[in-house]
Symmetry: C2
Subunit: 449 residues, 2 copies
C-alpha cells in the first residue's frame, strides 16, 4: 500500500468543455441522455469531459426526465449561449435560433445544429459567423437524421465529382406513400393513420408539401456542388395530389412513387449548371430507392470516380437524430481540445441554377378524355408537336354515365421519353384548352431510368 | 486598363503541398488521374495546390499514361518519401511499404494508404508513428473501397455505441457466390469465370480464403470498439468449401449465402467482450445484404441510438478506390494548410476477444447418413445432448447404389437454433465417430435472424 502525503496536489483534472443545449424536446432529451450515458466514452474520444451547463426551454415547469435536471433548465437562452464552449441547437425554427447561434459564435462557441429550416433559409450568415469567429458549425443531423451524409458528401467525396444525389429524405412522406402503395388508401386516409402512429405531425404541412425535403435538398446541393443554394432556389412539389389511381398506374408499369429530393449537375449548351428540386416521381421497382419502406430514409449518390453509392437508415426520431448530433459534438469538441478547424462553407464553384423549364425529364401524364375516334391521335399530335415522344400509352374506358346525351369517357396514361419541361407545360396548356381533354388528372416525372 | 509598375512584386503564390505517390498500378494511376483532372477543384477545397513530386515504381520503363510522366517516376521510394508533405501509399504488401511509411512520418509527412494488409498486420506501429510525429494517417480506401465507412464509423458514430457490423467487404467472393447462386455453377467454375471477367485475380487466395475480408474486419473492429484487433485475432473461414448443394439448400430455405465480415459486442457472464470473424453464412433473403449482387460491397451497422444503417457501393476498382483516397488526401492536406490533426488510434476500451467457442450461433449442418429407421432420432439426440435444439430438418433419399449389400443413403439438412460453437464442435466430433453419419458435408452459420 502506498501512502499519499497530505501535501500532494490532486492529479490534474482533464479540462471540461462547457456545453449548452438549446431545446429539450424529442431530440434534445435524447441528446442529453446520450451525453449522460456515454459520458466516460465521450471523454475518452474527445480528450475532455463534456459538462452540460444549461438547457434552454420555454416551459420551466415541465419535467424533462432524469438527464435534464431542473437546476439546469433556463428560459434565458441568450445568457446561456454566451458562457458555453459548445452550443447544441435543437429548438428548431428560425428565430430566436438564428440570433442565438450568431451570438454563441460571436462569443467563441462552436455550434452543432439539427435545424434544416434555418440552414436552408439562412445558412450563409451562420457559415460567415463561424468563419469570422474561427469556430465550427456542424449539422449532420439536419439531413437524413442518423444517416452519415453531410460528412461523406463534404469530406469522403471531397476528391471526387458528384454528379447527382437522389434522396428519400423525409420519413413522413415516405411512410404515407408506402402506406398508399401497400393498402391502396387515399392520401388523406394514409396521412391520418400516419398521424395516429406518430409518423406524421399534427401539422404535417412542411412534410407533405415537400418543404422539409426541399430544405434538405438545398443543404445537399450546396455541399455537393460548392455553390450557394437557398431554399427558395429549390423547385418544390409535395405529395398531396398523389392519388390511388397514380399509385395503381405506377404499379402496373412496374414503378413506385417516391418523394425525391434531387440535386444534380446539368451540362448543356449553356455550360455546367445545377438543379435542386423536390417532387413525387416514379422510380423503376428495381431501383434501390424503390424498396425503401415506412419512414426510412435513403440517399443515392452518383460520383465520377466512386460510381454509385447508397446510404440507408433512420431519417428522424429522437435517438437516431441525437446519434448524428453527438458525432458532430465529438468532432467539434476534439477540435477544441486538439486544435484545428472543421469544414467551412465552400462555394467557390458558384454554379448557376437551371430553371425548371430547361430541364429534360421523362413524364407520366394521366388524362380523362372523350372516348371517340381520333382522340388518341389528337393527344399524340399535341405532344409530338411540342417535341415530346411517347414511350407507352395505357387506355381504360370509364363506365358510361347514365342518361341520354352523356358522353363516353376514357382514362389515358401516357409515359413519355425525356423532353423539356417547357414542352410539357406547353402541351398541358393545349390539353387544358381543348374539349377533347376533360381533365388533366396528374403529371409525374419518371426518375432513375 | 491599369498598369503594373515594373517594381511591383508578383502576387503571393498559394502554398503548394508536395505529394509523393508510392505505386502506379490499378489504383495509383487513377489517383494520379484524379489529382491531375481535379487540380483546380482540389486547390479550392484544400486551400493549396497539390504538386506530385514523384511516383515510386519498380519498373521505370513501363508507360504509366499521361498523368505519370516519366520525369516523375523513380525507383528510389526511400528518398522520395523524405521530401514530401503527403505520401499516398498504393503499392501494397507489407515491406517495403511499412518502412517507407514509418520513414515518411518520421520526416514529417502525413500518410494516406489503401493497404489493408499492412494496417491489419501492423497498424499499431503506424498509428504510433503518426502520434509521435504529429502527422495524420488516413485509410478510408482500405475498407470497402469507395464506400465511406471509416469516416462514418470513427467520426459520425463517435457519440453512439456500435453493437455490430455485418459486411460484405470482398467483391471477388461476392461475385463468385452470386454467380453460384444465379447459375448453379460449382465454386471452381464460378471462380474461373470471375477470373476471366477480371473480378478475381490470377492468385485469388487472399480473397477466397477470406484473408482480405479478415483484414478489413480487424480494421473495422478496432475502429468500432476502440480496441486493438489484429488480423490474427480474426477467426477466418473462406468460401472454397461452399458447394452447389449448399446454395440450393439455402435457396430452399429462403436464404442466401454471403461471405460476411462480422464484428460485434458480446455481453455475457464474463462481461463485455468483442468478436471479429469472417465466414460464409446464410442470410434470410429479406436481409438488405442478401440482395447485394456481383462485386458490390455493402455494410450494415447496428448502433444503440442510430439503429440500423446500411452503406452500399463499389468496394474495389481503380477509380472507386482512388475516390476514397482523394477524400483522405483532401482531409490530410486541409489539416496541413489550416492546422489541426486528424483522428488518432483510439483503443481506450481495450475490450477482450471472445474465443469462437464461446459464441452462440445458429447453424445449418448437412450430413450424408444411412437411411434406416432411428437415424434421425440418433442425430437429433446427439444435438440435444449437447444442448442444441433443432429448428428445421430436411431429408432427401439418395439414389440407391447398385449392387447387393450396398446401403441406402440420405442427405439431411438441419437448421438449429442458437447454440454454443463449442456444443456444435462436440456434436460434429460425435457425428464423425458414428457409423450412422457417412460424411459431414457442410457446416454454415445462419446470420441476420
Ligand atoms: N424530431 C426529429 O426527428 C428531428 C429529426 C431531424 C432534425 N430535427 C430538428 O431538430 C430540432 C428539434 O426538433 P424536436 O423534434 O426535438 O422539436 P421539439 O420536440 O418541438 O422540441 C423543441 C424544444 O425547443 C424548445 N424551444 C422552442 N423554442 C424555444 C425558445 N424560443 N426558447 C427556448 N426553448 C425553445 C422547446 O421548449 P418547450 O419544451 O419548453 O416548449 C422544446 O424543448 C428542429 O430543428 C428539427 O427540425 C428533428
Ligand atoms: N485494386 C483495387 O481495387 C484495390 C482496392 C482497395 C485497396 N487496394 C489496395 O491498394 C494497393 C494497391 O493496389 P493495386 O491494385 O493498385 O496494385 P498494383 O496494380 O499491383 O500496383 C502496385 C504498384 O506498386 C508498385 N510497387 C510494388 N512494389 C513496389 C516496390 N517495392 N517499390 C516501388 N514500387 C512498388 C508497382 O510497381 P510496378 O508497376 O513497377 O510493378 C505498381 O505500380 C494495395 O494495398 C491494395 O490492397 C486496391
Amino acid at each position: 500500500m502506498s501512502l499519499t502525503s497530505p501535501g500532494t496536489p490532486p492529479p490534474p483534472q482533464p479540462p471540461a468543455l462547457r456545453v449548452a443545449v438549446l431545446g429539450a424536446g424529442t431530440v434534445g432529451t435524447e441528446v442529453l441522455r446520450l451525453i449522460a450515458q456515454q459520458r466516460g466514452d465521450l471523454a475518452h474520444r474527445i480528450g475532455a469531459d463534456l459538462e452540460v451547463v444549461g438547457i434552454a426551454v420555454r416551459d420551466l415547469t415541465r419535467d424533462r426526465g432524469e438527464h435534464a435536471g431542473a437546476e439546469l433548465l433556463t428560459e434565458d437562452a441568450s445568457e446561456l449561449v454566451r458562457t458555453a464552449d459548445l452550443v447544441i441547437e435543437v429548438m428548431g425554427g428560425i428565430e430566436p435560433a438564428r440570433s442565438l447561434l450568431l451570438d454563441a459564435m460571436a462569443h467563441g462557441a462552436s455550434v452543432v445544429t439539427a435545424n434544416k429550416a434555418l440552414l436552408a433559409q439562412d445558412g450563409a450568415s451562420l457559415y460567415e459567423a463561424a468563419d469570422i469567429h474561427g469556430v465550427d458549425l456542424y449539422f449532420e443531423a439536419a439531413v437524413a437524421g442518423a444517416i452519415p451524409l453531410v460528412r461523406p458528401v463534404r469530406e469522403s467525396l471531397a476528391g471526387d465529382r458528384i454528379q447527382r444525389v437522389l434522396g428519400i429524405v423525409n420519413g413522413t412522406t415516405n411512410y404515407v406513400l408506402d402506406a398508399m402503395t401497400r393498402t391502396g388508401a387515399s392520401f388523406d386516409a394514409a396521412l391520418a393513420s400516419a398521424q395516429e402512429l406518430g409518423f406524421a405531425e399534427a401539422d404535417p404541412t412542411a412534410d407533405v408539401q415537400g418543404h422539409d425535403a426541399a430544405a434538405k435538398a438545398s443543404i445537399l446541393a450546396s455541399l455537393a456542388f460548392h455553390s450557394r443554394v437557398r431554399l427558395s432556389d429549390v423547385h418544390c412539389e409535395g405529395i398531396t395530389e398523389v392519388s390511388p389511381l397514380d399509385i395503381a398506374a405506377a404499379a402496373r408499369m412496374g414503378r413506385t412513387i417516391k418523394l425525391l429530393s434531387i440535386v444534380e449537375r446539368v451540362q448543356d449548351d449553356l455550360g455546367e449548371r445545377i438543379s435542386a428540386r423536390v417532387y413525387p416521381a416514379l422510380l423503376p421497382d428495381e431501383h434501390p430507392l424503390a424498396s425503401v419502406s415506412e419512414a426510412y430514409n435513403a440517399v443515392f449518390i452518383e460520383a465520377d470516380a466512386a460510381g454509385s453509392l447508397m446510404f440507408y437508415g433512420q431519417g428522424a426520431g429522437g435517438a437516431p437524430t441525437a446519434s448524428a448530433i453527438l458525432g458532430d459534438v465529438v468532432s467539434a469538441a476534439r477540435q477544441r481540445v486538439r486544435g484545428g478547424v472543421g469544414p467551412r462553407e465552400s462555394r467557390y464553384a458558384e454554379l448557376e441554377q437551371v430553371p425548371l423549364d430547361d430541364l429534360r425529364n421523362a413524364f407520366y401524364v394521366s388524362l380523362t378524355v372523350q372516348d371517340r375516334p381520333g382522340v388518341l391521335a389528337e393527344i399524340a399530335g399535341t405532344l409530338s408537336g411540342n417535341g415530346i415522344s411517347i414511350s407507352t400509352i395505357h387506355q381504360e374506358l370509364l363506365e358510361k354515365p347514365e342518361g341520354e346525351g352523356e358522353q363516353a369517357l376514357a382514362h389515358i396514361g401516357i409515359s413519355t421519353h425525356r423532353a423539356l419541361e417547357s414542352a410539357m407545360t406547353a402541351s398541358l396548356d393545349l390539353f387544358s384548352s381543348t374539349s377533347t381533354v376533360l381533365s388533366i388528372d396528374s403529371v409525374l416525372r419518371i426518375e432513375g431510368v
